[in-house]
């Protein structure tokens, strides 16, 4: 009986949490007349052509977002792994100061840097290019990634690296052949978090891109929402399509997601 009460409470909470997404899917199958008559329950006939319309609207931006998110995630992890290896394994003159220079950035809010960053991107000729977003995303995530990865690499058995040194294995190969496979679990976790972050990034594309056909998914959805005469079904279909890639990714590596999102706690 007590179990029943717990399930009841949790289900009520979940119903409320999932209600927006339920409505999103229900409305995505209606035309405007059905929407006006009853937006809450599914009504026949289903208008699957809304999804064609929605896909037309978001296709380009989804492909752009996938490109930016994947490139910047791979780049961030690769660079941060090298940096973390350096800070975990070597003690050099000025090393602590360098490490401090990375950690200090954790304190500086990106929003405070918005204006000068925009000018810098312009000066580098990267305005309206996806590379501006990729480079900003990589640079912006280095501090946190190096902080986490350094702790992790420092725990790896150092005999492995000592032996590699004796055998004359160059440092970059040590990172690639030894450190990379051993840190695969934590890299997976960090990669998932990074992709979610990039998928949700909204400010940089808003500032750094001008052409609508280069735009990423977040800003594109805002444009769609701003249209005066709304095709509600098509709009909601667009929202659904925009949510699908991460959800598909989620079902493929559910364990990784659950771990990624719970792990922060264990570390704390």
């Amino acid at each position: 009986m007590k179990e029943f009460l717990k399930h009841l409470t949790l289900c009520t909470i979940l119903l409320l949490v999932l209600l927006p997404f339920y409505l999103m899917v229900v409305i995505s199958l209606k035309d405007n007349a059905q929407f006006a008559a009853d937006p809450y329950l599914p009504t026949l006939p289903f208008h699957f052509e809304n999804y064609l319309y929605g896909w037309e609207q978001v296709r380009g931006s989804i492909l752009n977002t996938v490109f930016v998110a994947v490139t910047s995630t791979v780049g961030s992890l690769a660079l941060a792994l090298g940096g973390a290896f350096f800070f975990a394994r070597y003690r050099v003159f000025g090393g602590r100061i360098l490490f401090g220079a990375f950690m200090l950035l954790l304190l500086y809010p990106g929003v405070a840097n918005m204006v000068p960053t925009f000018k810098l991107i312009g000066a580098l000729g990267l305005y309206n290019s996806h590379w501006s977003l990729i480079l900003l995303s990589i640079a912006g995530s280095q501090a946190f990634l190096i902080y986490v990865l350094k702790e992790f690499i420092a725990e790896l058995p150092e005999e492995l690296f000592d032996a590699a040194d004796v055998d004359g294995c160059p440092v970059w190969r040590q990172v690639w052949v030894i450190a990379l496979p051993l840190s695969a679990p934590i890299l997976g976790t960090l990669g998932v978090l990074h992709i979610i972050g990039d998928w949700n990034n909204f400010v940089s594309p808003l500032l750094m891109l001008r052409d609508p056909d280069k735009q990423l998914i977040g800003v594109q959805l805002l444009y769609l929402d701003g249209e005066y005469c709304k095709n509600w079904g098509g709009l909601m279909a667009g929202y659904t399509i925009a949510s699908l890639p991460l959800i598909i990714l989620f079902f493929f590596c559910m364990k990784l997601f659950v771990r990624s999102l719970s792990e922060g706690a264990v570390k704390g």
Binding site: H7, Y90, R91, P109, A112, P116, I196, F250, F257, G268
Partner: protein
């Protein structure tokens, strides 16, 4: 033990340095240089283009007289207070989830809680924007259905200056962010069985166990979440922008500091002043972090 590289041998180890040099180059170029450039331009009238004129403390004087800016930090304070209350449901959800006897059910619920977190935040906000919509929005339909307003009337949640802030705060009801739930759950699962057993032997009921055992043992997690919440509330402006655009709603009631930077710099062309507001946000973040470390210290 890490490998020591003595000073005179550094040239020999140049390839080791390359590992740190690449990320370092990126943060110097894309983080440190803009910080420096931003601080310099606090003292300039700058339109982001040709005009770049030294005006000394002009922007700072303007900061001190800017009532909108003062108001924006008031809004931040209100949001922090509201977000503090909005932290509570996640704690309760985690405790109930923790007490489920059946592990499989627990895993299933966990996945259901994660799902909304995977949906892009822009989609979530735009869906809530639709809920608040005056004509076909969910809340107006419910109010009409209950007879609270006439069939032709509507409540303008997002364009009434009195309703905008409450609407923004209510957003995302029932406020069980999955991140919080998962963090608390992980904390609760670290509590050992013996503690529960001895508490039950002493005759403690579920409420007393919650209040005297579970709550104290997840304070670390609550404090971490609290600190993260404050910092992100000070920095955040995307939500407000998505709901009401760069104007910050009627009479700018919901204009938060980040939104003001965006408006001043990118719509009105006061880049120097935008930099100045940015610096104020940085100082406030530092103060909040310092206060946090002092008063809500995370015990290790």
């Amino acid at each position: 033990m890490p490998v020591e590289i003595p000073l005179r041998k550094i040239p020999h180890y140049w390839n080791v340095y390359l590992l740190a040099a690449t990320p370092l180059l990126l943060i110097v170029l894309f983080n440190y240089y803009p910080i420096y450039n931003g601080i310099v331009h606090i003292f300039y009238r700058w339109d982001g283009d040709q005009l770049e004129e030294f005006i000394g403390f002009g922007n700072i004087v303007r900061l001190l007289h800017d009532r909108t800016l003062l108001h924006s930090f008031g809004v931040v304070l209100l949001f922090v207070a509201a977000n503090l209350i909005k932290m509570i449901p996640a704690i309760f959800a985690a405790v109930i989830l923790h007490h489920l006897l059946n592990r499989q059910w627990q895993y299933l619920y966990r996945i259901c809680f994660i799902l909304p977190m995977i949906v892009p935040s822009v989609v979530k906000i735009l869906l809530w924007k639709y809920f608040y919509e005056p004509n076909s929005g969910l809340f107006n339909a419910v109010l009409r259905g209950l007879g609270a307003i006439g069939p032709e009337e509507s409540v303008a949640f997002l364009s009434d200056p009195k309703l905008l802030l409450p609407s923004l705060i209510f957003q995302d009801f029932p406020w069980v962010g999955a991140f919080g739930v998962l963090i608390y759950l992980a904390g609760l699962q670290n509590i050992s069985r013996e503690i529960y057993e001895s508490a039950r032997l002493d005759g403690a009921g579920p409420w007393r166990i919650f209040y005297h055992i579970e709550l104290p043992l997840i304070t670390t997690q609550i404090r971490i979440n609290f600190a993260l919440m404050i910092i992100s509330t000070i920095r955040g402006w995307e939500n407000v922008y998505l709901f009401v655009g760069e104007g910050g709603g009627p009479e700018s009631v919901a204009a938060v500091p980040g939104l003001l930077i965006f408006r001043e710099a990118f719509s009105r062309g006061y880049f120097g002043y935008g930099c100045a507001i940015g610096f104020v946000i940085f100082i406030v973040t530092l103060l909040a972090t310092a206060l946090n470390n002092k008063f809500v210290r995370v015990k290790r």
